[in-house]
């Protein structure tokens, strides 16, 4: 049975990740993202579940030599499925730089242009303007 502390770990990682406090990064394996801490690191990835039409999410904890100490799957805490999915999506977004890219694009799009001056009314046509 998975250590119940993992549940707290999922919650804390998700909360801090949403707040931009966890530096997720992409790894040499596509779809695997890691975040490092002073003594340990965590990795998260997804994989299709062959038995059901769903995706499994796996969170691994590794020591300071990169050796995996333990892992949990969403099936260990079925009620945490959505949190693990959100954590994976958050890690992916940060790891690929998507959040930075979107922030930058949105900031650029959100910049208000100075209000354009009303175009001057065209001068009224008078008899003096008629060349004949």
């Amino acid at each position: 049975m998975a250590d119940p502390k993992f549940r707290t770990l999922i919650h804390k990682l998700l909360e801090r990740s949403k707040g931009g406090k966890v530096q997720w990064e992409a790894t040499a394996v596509e779809g695997v993202y890691q975040a490092a801490f002073p003594q340990y690191s965590v990795k998260i990835y997804s994989r299709p579940n062959p038995n059901v039409v769903a995706t499994d999410y796996i969170l691994e904890v590794a020591d300071n030599e990169g050796q995996v100490i333990d892992e949990i799957r969403d099936t260990d805490f079925p009620d945490e499925y959505e949190n693990m999915r959100d954590l994976f999506n958050c890690a992916r977004s940060v790891g690929l730089g998507l959040d930075r890219a979107l922030d930058s694009i949105l900031a650029a799009l959100g910049r208000d242009d100075p209000p354009s001056a009303e175009p001057p009314e065209p001068p009224g046509i008078t008899d003096e303007d008629v060349p004949f």
Binding site: A26, A28, Q34, F37, P38, Y40
Partner: protein, 96 residues
């Protein structure tokens, strides 16, 4: 790390796992020798060790599957780590 990038470009996959191991050990020794380093610097070292472990596993798997690893992707990660580690190692050297 520059040599690892060159070996990636040369496709010298058979010798790379040993180089990753040597590099991980070196980074581990630096981490152990600097217990008072700030947390962000320790995290960088731990993250780098983990990255090279993942890289090693990926290359081992590619060797077993007889597939070609993604050289550009691997070197991008090595370059990112190299830049950050250079900064940190410089601060270690400058310590009195």
């Amino acid at each position: 790390m520059e040599e690892i990038k060159r070996l990636h470009r040369a496709g010298a996959w058979a010798v790379l796992p040993d180089r990753y191991t040597a590099l991980r050990k070196l980074l581990g020794a630096i981490l152990a020798a600097n217990p008072d380093a700030p947390d962000d610097q320790k995290a960088l070292l731990v993250g780098s060790i983990n990255q090279f472990r993942v890289m090693e596993n990926a290359v081992e798997r590619a060797l077993a599957d007889k597939t070609a690893p993604d050289v550009v992707g691997l070197n991008k990660i090595v370059s990112q780590k190299l830049d950050k580690l250079n900064e940190v190692l410089l601060t270690f050297r400058l310590k009195p």
